[in-house]
Amino acid sequence: MNLLTIPTPLRPYTEGQKDVLVEGETVGMILKDLAKRYPNLYQHLFDKNGDLRPYVNIFINQEDIRTHDGENTIVTEGDRLMIVPSIAGGLRLE
């Protein structure tokens, strides 16, 4: 079992929980299991093709899974997982 930290904007979809206990051999398996347990969370994590949304970043022990094997990254007991949003915006008139 591992702890997955949920960012504040997504906590309304995990019954307000900040840290959720998760189980799975890979990051992808953990996320699918999480979305199954909290069905309303799914649309905010994955797009209609089942790919992670661009503003959703998964970190394992403070390293982006994209620098490992993405959703196939192996998770071992004690690894700390975090869902980290990207923030962007601005006027962008032209």
């Binding site: 930290t5 504040t8 309304p12 905010h44 975090m82 980290v84 923030i87 915006g89």
Partner: protein
């Protein structure tokens, strides 16, 4: 409702002035109960967009977000929102802001021009992804 001290609001405006004519950005750390959130501390961050686009765009990288999450955890706070400036434009979210916004966060936007920061307004994304203005309750620092 977003409750914020006049001192923190001034800091947001000074941050916008410091970065003018570029957009400045950062995070609001604080506490919340239901829809009522209180800003306790600002976390000014570097606008990670390339220099040539900083006059109309801002970006906070996930690496900065993770450091912010850990900092907030250390202080017993949460990230409750994002602040950024609109140089020479109203403190109203753009379509670009809306497309990239997350639910729940308070988005504080500061209008600024060559004379200084003019006003700050707060916005939150609705369930159908439209921005609705959020009331700002300004607390006097003298009574805190």
């Amino acid at each position: 409702m977003l409750s914020i001290s006049d001192k923190l609001l001034q800091e947001i405006m000074h941050h916008a002035e410091f970065h003018y004519p570029e957009e400045g950005a950062g995070l609001l750390l604080g506490q919340f109960r239901g829809d009522f959130r209180t800003a306790v501390q600002l976390l000014p961050l570097k606008n990670q967009v390339q220099a040539s686009s900083r006059h109309n765009r801002y970006r906070i990288e996930p690496e900065d977000m993770i450091r912010a999450e850990l900092k907030a955890e250390e202080l017993g706070l949460d990230i409750i929102g994002v602040f950024h400036s609109h140089p020479n434009h109203p403190a109203v979210p753009s379509e670009f802001d809306r497309e990239r916004a997350l639910p729940w966060y308070s988005y504080v936007i500061t209008q600024i021009d060559g004379t200084g920061a003019l006003e700050s307004r707060s916005w939150r994304l609705s369930d159908d992804r439209q921005f609705l203005e959020e009331e700002i309750f300004i607390q006097s620092s003298e009574v805190l």
